[in-house]
Symmetry: C2
Subunit: 256 residues, 2 copies
Protein backbone atom coordinates (compact mmCIF):
# COMPACT_ATOMS: atom_id res chain seq x y z
CA UNK A 1 0.00 0.00 0.00
CA UNK A 2 2.66 2.44 1.09
CA UNK A 3 5.24 3.10 -1.57
CA UNK A 4 8.64 3.21 0.01
CA UNK A 5 12.12 3.24 -1.46
CA UNK A 6 13.82 0.01 -0.45
CA UNK A 7 17.03 0.59 1.48
CA UNK A 8 19.78 -1.52 0.01
CA UNK A 9 21.23 -3.83 2.60
CA UNK A 10 23.84 -6.02 1.00
CA UNK A 11 24.90 -7.56 4.30
CA UNK A 12 21.55 -9.07 5.19
CA UNK A 13 21.74 -11.89 2.68
CA UNK A 14 24.88 -13.42 4.09
CA UNK A 15 25.04 -12.08 7.64
CA UNK A 16 24.34 -14.29 10.64
CA UNK A 17 21.02 -14.39 12.45
CA UNK A 18 21.10 -11.98 15.37
CA UNK A 19 20.79 -13.46 18.83
CA UNK A 20 18.07 -12.09 21.10
CA UNK A 21 20.68 -9.91 22.81
CA UNK A 22 22.06 -8.64 19.50
CA UNK A 23 18.56 -7.93 18.19
CA UNK A 24 17.74 -5.99 21.35
CA UNK A 25 20.95 -4.02 20.97
CA UNK A 26 20.11 -3.06 17.38
CA UNK A 27 16.58 -2.03 18.32
CA UNK A 28 17.99 0.09 21.15
CA UNK A 29 20.50 1.71 18.79
CA UNK A 30 17.68 2.53 16.35
CA UNK A 31 15.73 4.21 19.14
CA UNK A 32 18.78 6.10 20.33
CA UNK A 33 19.20 7.54 16.83
CA UNK A 34 15.60 8.12 15.77
CA UNK A 35 13.10 8.04 18.65
CA UNK A 36 11.46 11.39 19.33
CA UNK A 37 12.88 11.78 22.85
CA UNK A 38 15.53 14.01 21.28
CA UNK A 39 13.15 16.11 19.22
CA UNK A 40 13.48 19.88 19.84
CA UNK A 41 9.75 20.16 20.55
CA UNK A 42 10.09 17.67 23.41
CA UNK A 43 13.23 19.39 24.65
CA UNK A 44 11.32 22.68 24.89
CA UNK A 45 8.47 20.88 26.65
CA UNK A 46 10.80 19.36 29.20
CA UNK A 47 12.51 22.69 29.82
CA UNK A 48 9.17 24.29 30.61
CA UNK A 49 9.42 26.56 27.59
CA UNK A 50 6.18 25.75 25.79
CA UNK A 51 3.22 28.08 26.09
CA UNK A 52 -0.25 26.86 26.91
CA UNK A 53 -1.24 27.41 23.27
CA UNK A 54 1.66 25.27 22.06
CA UNK A 55 0.67 22.51 24.47
CA UNK A 56 -2.89 22.78 23.14
CA UNK A 57 -1.62 22.31 19.60
CA UNK A 58 0.36 19.27 20.75
CA UNK A 59 -2.58 17.72 22.64
CA UNK A 60 -4.99 18.38 19.76
CA UNK A 61 -2.76 16.88 17.10
CA UNK A 62 -1.55 13.95 19.14
CA UNK A 63 -5.19 13.08 19.85
CA UNK A 64 -5.43 12.01 16.24
CA UNK A 65 -2.51 9.65 16.77
CA UNK A 66 -4.07 8.27 19.95
CA UNK A 67 -7.44 7.79 18.27
CA UNK A 68 -5.90 5.74 15.48
CA UNK A 69 -3.86 3.41 17.73
CA UNK A 70 -6.70 0.95 18.46
CA UNK A 71 -7.62 0.99 14.75
CA UNK A 72 -4.01 0.12 13.99
CA UNK A 73 -4.10 -2.65 16.60
CA UNK A 74 -7.41 -3.95 15.27
CA UNK A 75 -5.82 -4.31 11.84
CA UNK A 76 -3.02 -6.33 13.42
CA UNK A 77 -5.64 -8.35 15.32
CA UNK A 78 -7.40 -9.09 12.04
CA UNK A 79 -4.14 -10.43 10.62
CA UNK A 80 -3.29 -12.44 13.74
CA UNK A 81 -2.67 -16.09 12.95
CA UNK A 82 -4.12 -17.76 16.06
CA UNK A 83 -6.13 -17.21 19.25
CA UNK A 84 -3.02 -17.02 21.43
CA UNK A 85 -1.58 -14.16 19.42
CA UNK A 86 -4.92 -12.36 19.16
CA UNK A 87 -5.62 -12.75 22.88
CA UNK A 88 -2.27 -11.15 23.70
CA UNK A 89 -2.71 -8.34 21.17
CA UNK A 90 -6.32 -7.66 22.12
CA UNK A 91 -5.10 -6.15 25.38
CA UNK A 92 -3.88 -3.15 23.40
CA UNK A 93 -7.32 -2.38 22.00
CA UNK A 94 -8.80 -2.64 25.50
CA UNK A 95 -6.07 -0.38 26.91
CA UNK A 96 -7.03 2.37 24.47
CA UNK A 97 -10.78 1.89 24.06
CA UNK A 98 -11.49 0.94 27.68
CA UNK A 99 -13.91 -1.58 29.19
CA UNK A 100 -16.34 -1.82 32.10
CA UNK A 101 -13.58 -1.19 34.64
CA UNK A 102 -11.33 1.30 32.80
CA UNK A 103 -11.99 4.41 30.74
CA UNK A 104 -9.19 3.69 28.27
CA UNK A 105 -6.36 5.72 26.78
CA UNK A 106 -8.37 7.72 24.25
CA UNK A 107 -10.64 9.14 26.92
CA UNK A 108 -7.61 9.84 29.12
CA UNK A 109 -6.02 11.78 26.28
CA UNK A 110 -9.17 13.89 25.91
CA UNK A 111 -8.84 14.71 29.62
CA UNK A 112 -5.30 15.85 29.00
CA UNK A 113 -6.46 18.02 26.11
CA UNK A 114 -9.21 19.47 28.32
CA UNK A 115 -6.62 20.27 30.98
CA UNK A 116 -4.81 22.41 28.38
CA UNK A 117 -8.06 24.34 27.95
CA UNK A 118 -9.33 22.80 24.71
CA UNK A 119 -12.97 22.00 24.03
CA UNK A 120 -13.21 18.17 24.13
CA UNK A 121 -15.71 18.11 21.26
CA UNK A 122 -13.31 19.96 19.01
CA UNK A 123 -10.58 17.51 20.01
CA UNK A 124 -12.68 14.44 19.27
CA UNK A 125 -13.70 15.89 15.90
CA UNK A 126 -10.05 16.44 15.00
CA UNK A 127 -11.00 19.99 14.09
CA UNK A 128 -8.00 22.02 12.97
CA UNK A 129 -5.35 19.30 13.15
CA UNK A 130 -2.37 19.67 10.86
CA UNK A 131 -2.62 17.75 7.58
CA UNK A 132 0.95 16.57 8.26
CA UNK A 133 -0.30 14.86 11.44
CA UNK A 134 -2.95 13.04 9.47
CA UNK A 135 -0.49 11.98 6.78
CA UNK A 136 2.09 10.65 9.26
CA UNK A 137 -0.47 8.78 11.34
CA UNK A 138 -2.23 7.32 8.29
CA UNK A 139 1.14 6.01 7.16
CA UNK A 140 1.16 3.91 10.34
CA UNK A 141 -2.06 2.32 9.08
CA UNK A 142 -0.49 1.79 5.66
CA UNK A 143 2.41 -0.04 7.27
CA UNK A 144 0.35 -2.43 9.38
CA UNK A 145 -1.92 -3.16 6.42
CA UNK A 146 0.60 -3.61 3.66
CA UNK A 147 3.73 -5.11 5.19
CA UNK A 148 4.19 -8.55 6.73
CA UNK A 149 2.69 -9.24 10.16
CA UNK A 150 6.25 -9.41 11.48
CA UNK A 151 6.87 -5.82 10.38
CA UNK A 152 3.45 -4.70 11.62
CA UNK A 153 4.31 -6.04 15.07
CA UNK A 154 7.82 -4.60 14.95
CA UNK A 155 6.48 -1.14 14.18
CA UNK A 156 5.03 -1.07 17.71
CA UNK A 157 8.49 -1.37 19.25
CA UNK A 158 8.84 2.34 20.00
CA UNK A 159 7.21 1.18 23.25
CA UNK A 160 10.66 -0.07 24.20
CA UNK A 161 11.63 3.56 24.70
CA UNK A 162 8.40 5.15 25.90
CA UNK A 163 8.65 4.34 29.61
CA UNK A 164 11.81 6.35 30.06
CA UNK A 165 10.41 9.28 28.09
CA UNK A 166 7.08 9.27 29.92
CA UNK A 167 8.78 9.09 33.33
CA UNK A 168 10.76 12.21 32.46
CA UNK A 169 7.72 13.91 30.94
CA UNK A 170 5.54 13.33 34.00
CA UNK A 171 8.18 14.90 36.20
CA UNK A 172 8.63 17.91 33.92
CA UNK A 173 4.94 18.49 33.22
CA UNK A 174 4.22 18.52 36.97
CA UNK A 175 7.14 20.86 37.57
CA UNK A 176 6.55 23.41 34.81
CA UNK A 177 2.87 23.14 33.94
CA UNK A 178 1.11 22.34 37.25
CA UNK A 179 -2.25 23.36 35.74
CA UNK A 180 -1.97 20.21 33.59
CA UNK A 181 -1.85 17.87 36.60
CA UNK A 182 -5.53 16.84 36.28
CA UNK A 183 -4.79 15.48 32.83
CA UNK A 184 -1.91 13.10 33.40
CA UNK A 185 -3.78 9.78 33.83
CA UNK A 186 -2.92 8.75 30.29
CA UNK A 187 0.80 8.78 31.01
CA UNK A 188 0.42 7.12 34.41
CA UNK A 189 -1.38 4.21 32.77
CA UNK A 190 1.18 3.86 29.99
CA UNK A 191 3.92 3.37 32.57
CA UNK A 192 2.62 -0.09 33.39
CA UNK A 193 0.91 -0.93 30.05
CA UNK A 194 3.82 -0.37 27.67
CA UNK A 195 6.53 -2.61 29.18
CA UNK A 196 4.37 -5.74 28.95
CA UNK A 197 3.42 -4.91 25.37
CA UNK A 198 6.95 -4.29 24.20
CA UNK A 199 8.25 -7.47 25.84
CA UNK A 200 5.66 -9.52 23.94
CA UNK A 201 6.50 -7.74 20.68
CA UNK A 202 10.27 -8.20 21.00
CA UNK A 203 9.82 -11.90 21.68
CA UNK A 204 7.41 -12.21 18.76
CA UNK A 205 9.88 -10.54 16.42
CA UNK A 206 12.76 -12.71 17.62
CA UNK A 207 10.75 -15.93 17.30
CA UNK A 208 9.27 -15.13 13.90
CA UNK A 209 12.13 -13.51 12.01
CA UNK A 210 13.74 -16.64 10.61
CA UNK A 211 16.47 -14.97 8.56
CA UNK A 212 18.71 -12.00 9.00
CA UNK A 213 16.90 -10.32 6.13
CA UNK A 214 13.64 -10.62 8.07
CA UNK A 215 15.30 -9.24 11.17
CA UNK A 216 16.47 -6.27 9.11
CA UNK A 217 12.93 -5.68 7.85
CA UNK A 218 11.72 -5.63 11.45
CA UNK A 219 14.39 -3.08 12.40
CA UNK A 220 13.42 -1.01 9.35
CA UNK A 221 9.78 -1.05 10.49
CA UNK A 222 10.87 0.36 13.85
CA UNK A 223 12.93 3.03 12.05
CA UNK A 224 9.91 3.97 9.92
CA UNK A 225 7.72 4.17 13.02
CA UNK A 226 10.25 6.48 14.66
CA UNK A 227 10.03 8.67 11.54
CA UNK A 228 6.25 8.80 11.94
CA UNK A 229 6.58 10.11 15.50
CA UNK A 230 9.38 12.53 14.58
CA UNK A 231 7.48 13.99 11.63
CA UNK A 232 4.51 14.84 13.85
CA UNK A 233 6.73 16.95 16.09
CA UNK A 234 8.46 18.59 13.11
CA UNK A 235 5.05 19.70 11.87
CA UNK A 236 4.06 21.03 15.31
CA UNK A 237 7.34 22.91 15.66
CA UNK A 238 7.03 24.45 12.19
CA UNK A 239 3.42 25.50 12.71
CA UNK A 240 3.53 26.66 16.33
CA UNK A 241 7.12 27.38 17.41
CA UNK A 242 9.39 28.45 14.57
CA UNK A 243 8.75 29.97 12.09
CA UNK A 244 5.22 29.47 13.42
CA UNK A 245 3.25 29.04 10.21
CA UNK A 246 0.22 26.78 10.59
CA UNK A 247 -1.10 25.66 7.18
CA UNK A 248 -4.39 27.07 5.83
CA UNK A 249 -7.44 25.96 7.80
CA UNK A 250 -5.63 24.60 10.88
CA UNK A 251 -5.68 25.40 14.60
CA UNK A 252 -4.55 28.91 15.51
CA UNK A 253 -3.21 29.65 18.98
CA UNK A 254 -5.45 32.19 20.71
CA UNK A 255 -4.07 35.70 20.46
CA UNK A 256 -1.60 34.74 17.74
CA UNK B 1 -8.06 3.40 4.00
CA UNK B 2 -7.26 6.92 5.04
CA UNK B 3 -8.81 7.93 8.33
CA UNK B 4 -10.00 11.48 8.11
CA UNK B 5 -12.19 13.58 10.35
CA UNK B 6 -15.35 14.35 8.44
CA UNK B 7 -15.97 18.07 8.10
CA UNK B 8 -19.49 18.86 9.12
CA UNK B 9 -21.33 20.53 6.30
CA UNK B 10 -24.89 21.10 7.32
CA UNK B 11 -25.70 23.07 4.18
CA UNK B 12 -24.96 20.32 1.70
CA UNK B 13 -28.06 18.27 2.46
CA UNK B 14 -30.51 20.98 1.51
CA UNK B 15 -28.51 23.30 -0.73
CA UNK B 16 -29.03 23.48 -4.47
CA UNK B 17 -26.89 21.68 -7.00
CA UNK B 18 -24.13 23.98 -8.21
CA UNK B 19 -24.14 24.95 -11.87
CA UNK B 20 -20.95 24.35 -13.86
CA UNK B 21 -20.04 28.00 -13.40
CA UNK B 22 -20.71 27.90 -9.66
CA UNK B 23 -18.73 24.69 -9.29
CA UNK B 24 -15.81 26.22 -11.17
CA UNK B 25 -15.98 29.28 -8.92
CA UNK B 26 -15.84 27.15 -5.77
CA UNK B 27 -12.92 25.14 -7.09
CA UNK B 28 -11.12 28.37 -7.93
CA UNK B 29 -11.79 29.76 -4.47
CA UNK B 30 -10.40 26.58 -2.91
CA UNK B 31 -7.22 26.93 -4.95
CA UNK B 32 -6.91 30.60 -4.08
CA UNK B 33 -7.01 29.70 -0.39
CA UNK B 34 -5.01 26.48 -0.31
CA UNK B 35 -2.94 25.86 -3.45
CA UNK B 36 0.82 26.00 -2.85
CA UNK B 37 1.43 29.00 -5.12
CA UNK B 38 1.39 31.12 -1.95
CA UNK B 39 3.70 28.88 0.06
CA UNK B 40 6.74 30.72 1.50
CA UNK B 41 9.09 28.15 -0.05
CA UNK B 42 7.76 29.01 -3.52
CA UNK B 43 7.89 32.72 -2.74
CA UNK B 44 11.59 32.40 -1.90
CA UNK B 45 12.12 30.38 -5.07
CA UNK B 46 10.46 32.99 -7.23
CA UNK B 47 12.44 35.79 -5.58
CA UNK B 48 15.69 34.02 -6.43
CA UNK B 49 16.49 33.49 -2.76
CA UNK B 50 16.97 29.74 -2.64
CA UNK B 51 20.46 28.29 -2.63
CA UNK B 52 21.53 25.49 -4.93
CA UNK B 53 21.40 23.10 -1.97
CA UNK B 54 17.82 24.11 -1.17
CA UNK B 55 16.83 23.57 -4.79
CA UNK B 56 18.49 20.15 -4.62
CA UNK B 57 16.40 19.25 -1.58
CA UNK B 58 13.28 20.40 -3.43
CA UNK B 59 14.11 18.45 -6.61
CA UNK B 60 15.03 15.31 -4.64
CA UNK B 61 11.88 15.31 -2.54
CA UNK B 62 9.52 16.28 -5.28
CA UNK B 63 10.90 13.44 -7.38
CA UNK B 64 9.10 11.10 -5.01
CA UNK B 65 5.84 12.91 -5.74
CA UNK B 66 6.48 12.76 -9.49
CA UNK B 67 7.34 9.06 -9.35
CA UNK B 68 4.07 8.24 -7.61
CA UNK B 69 1.81 10.21 -9.99
CA UNK B 70 1.50 7.46 -12.65
CA UNK B 71 0.92 4.92 -9.86
CA UNK B 72 -1.87 7.16 -8.59
CA UNK B 73 -3.28 7.44 -12.12
CA UNK B 74 -3.00 3.69 -12.65
CA UNK B 75 -5.13 3.14 -9.55
CA UNK B 76 -7.73 5.51 -11.01
CA UNK B 77 -7.44 3.66 -14.34
CA UNK B 78 -8.10 0.39 -12.52
CA UNK B 79 -11.29 1.86 -11.07
CA UNK B 80 -12.43 3.40 -14.35
CA UNK B 81 -15.91 2.29 -15.32
CA UNK B 82 -15.58 2.10 -19.10
CA UNK B 83 -13.16 2.24 -22.05
CA UNK B 84 -13.96 5.87 -22.83
CA UNK B 85 -13.00 7.00 -19.34
CA UNK B 86 -9.91 4.79 -19.24
CA UNK B 87 -8.75 5.92 -22.68
CA UNK B 88 -8.95 9.55 -21.58
CA UNK B 89 -7.23 8.91 -18.25
CA UNK B 90 -4.51 6.69 -19.77
CA UNK B 91 -2.98 9.79 -21.33
CA UNK B 92 -1.77 10.79 -17.86
CA UNK B 93 0.20 7.60 -17.38
CA UNK B 94 1.78 8.04 -20.81
CA UNK B 95 2.60 11.68 -20.05
CA UNK B 96 4.60 10.64 -16.98
CA UNK B 97 6.02 7.27 -17.98
CA UNK B 98 6.69 8.15 -21.63
CA UNK B 99 6.38 6.08 -24.80
CA UNK B 100 8.30 5.49 -28.03
CA UNK B 101 8.15 9.17 -28.97
CA UNK B 102 8.43 10.91 -25.59
CA UNK B 103 10.66 10.41 -22.57
CA UNK B 104 7.90 11.20 -20.07
CA UNK B 105 7.63 13.43 -17.03
CA UNK B 106 9.52 11.25 -14.56
CA UNK B 107 12.63 11.21 -16.73
CA UNK B 108 12.29 14.95 -17.28
CA UNK B 109 12.17 15.48 -13.53
CA UNK B 110 15.38 13.48 -13.13
CA UNK B 111 16.97 15.84 -15.67
CA UNK B 112 15.88 18.78 -13.55
CA UNK B 113 17.38 17.14 -10.46
CA UNK B 114 20.61 16.51 -12.37
CA UNK B 115 20.70 20.17 -13.40
CA UNK B 116 20.72 21.07 -9.69
CA UNK B 117 23.82 18.89 -9.33
CA UNK B 118 22.29 15.76 -7.82
CA UNK B 119 23.33 12.24 -8.74
CA UNK B 120 20.41 10.81 -10.77
CA UNK B 121 20.81 7.35 -9.20
CA UNK B 122 20.37 8.80 -5.73
CA UNK B 123 17.30 10.66 -6.95
CA UNK B 124 15.70 7.58 -8.48
CA UNK B 125 16.39 5.58 -5.30
CA UNK B 126 14.68 8.26 -3.21
CA UNK B 127 17.75 8.24 -1.00
CA UNK B 128 17.52 10.78 1.82
CA UNK B 129 14.00 12.07 1.12
CA UNK B 130 12.08 13.47 4.05
CA UNK B 131 9.69 11.02 5.72
CA UNK B 132 7.11 13.81 5.65
CA UNK B 133 7.32 13.81 1.83
CA UNK B 134 6.64 10.10 1.76
CA UNK B 135 3.72 10.40 4.17
CA UNK B 136 2.07 13.25 2.27
CA UNK B 137 2.49 11.59 -1.12
CA UNK B 138 1.32 8.20 0.14
CA UNK B 139 -1.82 9.91 1.40
CA UNK B 140 -2.57 10.78 -2.21
CA UNK B 141 -2.56 7.04 -2.93
CA UNK B 142 -4.80 6.43 0.08
CA UNK B 143 -7.29 8.96 -1.27
CA UNK B 144 -7.54 7.54 -4.79
CA UNK B 145 -7.83 4.02 -3.40
CA UNK B 146 -10.31 4.53 -0.61
CA UNK B 147 -12.68 7.29 -1.67
CA UNK B 148 -15.21 7.29 -4.48
CA UNK B 149 -13.99 7.52 -8.07
CA UNK B 150 -15.56 10.98 -8.18
CA UNK B 151 -13.32 12.13 -5.32
CA UNK B 152 -10.29 10.39 -6.81
CA UNK B 153 -10.79 12.32 -10.05
CA UNK B 154 -11.49 15.56 -8.19
CA UNK B 155 -8.23 15.26 -6.26
CA UNK B 156 -6.40 15.87 -9.55
CA UNK B 157 -7.96 19.30 -9.92
CA UNK B 158 -4.94 21.18 -8.62
CA UNK B 159 -4.07 21.09 -12.32
CA UNK B 160 -6.57 23.90 -12.71
CA UNK B 161 -3.99 26.15 -11.05
CA UNK B 162 -0.70 24.68 -12.21
CA UNK B 163 -0.37 26.43 -15.57
CA UNK B 164 -0.26 29.87 -14.02
CA UNK B 165 2.24 28.75 -11.38
CA UNK B 166 4.48 26.97 -13.88
CA UNK B 167 4.48 29.95 -16.25
CA UNK B 168 5.70 32.17 -13.41
CA UNK B 169 8.18 29.54 -12.23
CA UNK B 170 9.74 29.10 -15.68
CA UNK B 171 10.30 32.83 -15.93
CA UNK B 172 11.81 33.07 -12.45
CA UNK B 173 13.97 29.96 -12.68
CA UNK B 174 15.48 31.24 -15.94
CA UNK B 175 16.04 34.65 -14.43
CA UNK B 176 17.57 33.67 -11.07
CA UNK B 177 18.99 30.20 -11.60
CA UNK B 178 20.23 30.15 -15.21
CA UNK B 179 22.34 27.05 -14.49
CA UNK B 180 19.02 25.16 -14.19
CA UNK B 181 17.97 25.94 -17.76
CA UNK B 182 18.96 22.50 -19.11
CA UNK B 183 16.45 20.93 -16.73
CA UNK B 184 13.21 22.73 -17.50
CA UNK B 185 11.66 20.32 -20.03
CA UNK B 186 9.34 18.94 -17.38
CA UNK B 187 7.65 22.29 -16.86
CA UNK B 188 7.53 23.10 -20.59
CA UNK B 189 5.62 19.87 -21.19
CA UNK B 190 3.19 20.44 -18.33
CA UNK B 191 2.14 23.75 -19.87
CA UNK B 192 0.29 21.94 -22.62
CA UNK B 193 -0.50 18.65 -20.80
CA UNK B 194 -2.25 20.00 -17.72
CA UNK B 195 -5.01 22.17 -19.24
CA UNK B 196 -6.46 19.28 -21.25
CA UNK B 197 -6.38 17.04 -18.17
CA UNK B 198 -8.05 19.52 -15.87
CA UNK B 199 -10.77 20.30 -18.40
CA UNK B 200 -11.66 16.61 -18.62
CA UNK B 201 -11.64 16.27 -14.82
CA UNK B 202 -13.84 19.30 -14.18
CA UNK B 203 -16.38 18.05 -16.70
CA UNK B 204 -16.26 14.57 -15.18
CA UNK B 205 -16.90 15.96 -11.69
CA UNK B 206 -19.75 18.14 -12.90
CA UNK B 207 -21.40 15.28 -14.82
CA UNK B 208 -21.01 12.69 -12.07
CA UNK B 209 -21.74 14.60 -8.87
CA UNK B 210 -25.49 14.16 -8.79
CA UNK B 211 -26.16 15.91 -5.48
CA UNK B 212 -24.79 18.95 -3.71
CA UNK B 213 -23.35 16.60 -1.06
CA UNK B 214 -21.34 14.84 -3.78
CA UNK B 215 -20.19 18.17 -5.14
CA UNK B 216 -19.00 19.09 -1.65
CA UNK B 217 -17.08 15.81 -1.39
CA UNK B 218 -15.35 16.63 -4.67
CA UNK B 219 -14.40 20.10 -3.40
CA UNK B 220 -13.13 18.52 -0.18
CA UNK B 221 -10.96 16.14 -2.22
CA UNK B 222 -9.38 19.14 -3.95
CA UNK B 223 -8.83 20.78 -0.55
CA UNK B 224 -7.14 17.63 0.75
CA UNK B 225 -4.94 17.47 -2.33
CA UNK B 226 -3.90 21.08 -1.79
CA UNK B 227 -2.95 20.10 1.78
CA UNK B 228 -0.78 17.30 0.37
CA UNK B 229 1.15 19.76 -1.79
CA UNK B 230 1.39 22.37 0.97
CA UNK B 231 2.67 19.88 3.56
CA UNK B 232 5.53 18.87 1.27
CA UNK B 233 6.75 22.46 1.14
CA UNK B 234 6.29 22.93 4.90
CA UNK B 235 8.58 19.96 5.45
CA UNK B 236 11.17 21.30 2.99
CA UNK B 237 11.10 24.72 4.61
CA UNK B 238 11.48 23.30 8.12
CA UNK B 239 14.33 20.99 7.13
CA UNK B 240 16.28 23.25 4.77
CA UNK B 241 15.33 26.91 5.31
CA UNK B 242 14.18 27.68 8.83
CA UNK B 243 14.99 26.46 11.43
CA UNK B 244 16.80 24.12 9.05
CA UNK B 245 16.53 20.81 10.87
CA UNK B 246 16.38 17.81 8.54
CA UNK B 247 15.14 14.70 10.40
CA UNK B 248 17.57 11.84 11.21
CA UNK B 249 18.84 9.99 8.14
CA UNK B 250 17.73 12.52 5.50
CA UNK B 251 19.51 14.58 2.83
CA UNK B 252 22.02 17.10 4.12
CA UNK B 253 22.95 20.13 2.04
CA UNK B 254 26.65 20.03 1.23
CA UNK B 255 28.70 22.20 3.55
CA UNK B 256 25.83 22.54 6.04
Amino acid sequence: MAVRPVETDTTSQTAHLLSLEELRAQLQATGEERYHHKHPFHLLMHEGKLTRGQLQAWALNRYYYQSVIPIKDSIILSRGPDPVFRRAWRKRVVDHDGDATSEGGIKRWVKLAEATGLDPQMVRAGQGILPATRFAVNEYLNIVRSRTLLEAVASSLTELFSTKLITLRLEKLRQYYPWLSEGLDYFEARLYQAPEDSQFAVNYVFDNAKTRAEQELAIQALRDKCDILWAQLDALYFAYVQPGWPPPGTFRIEGS
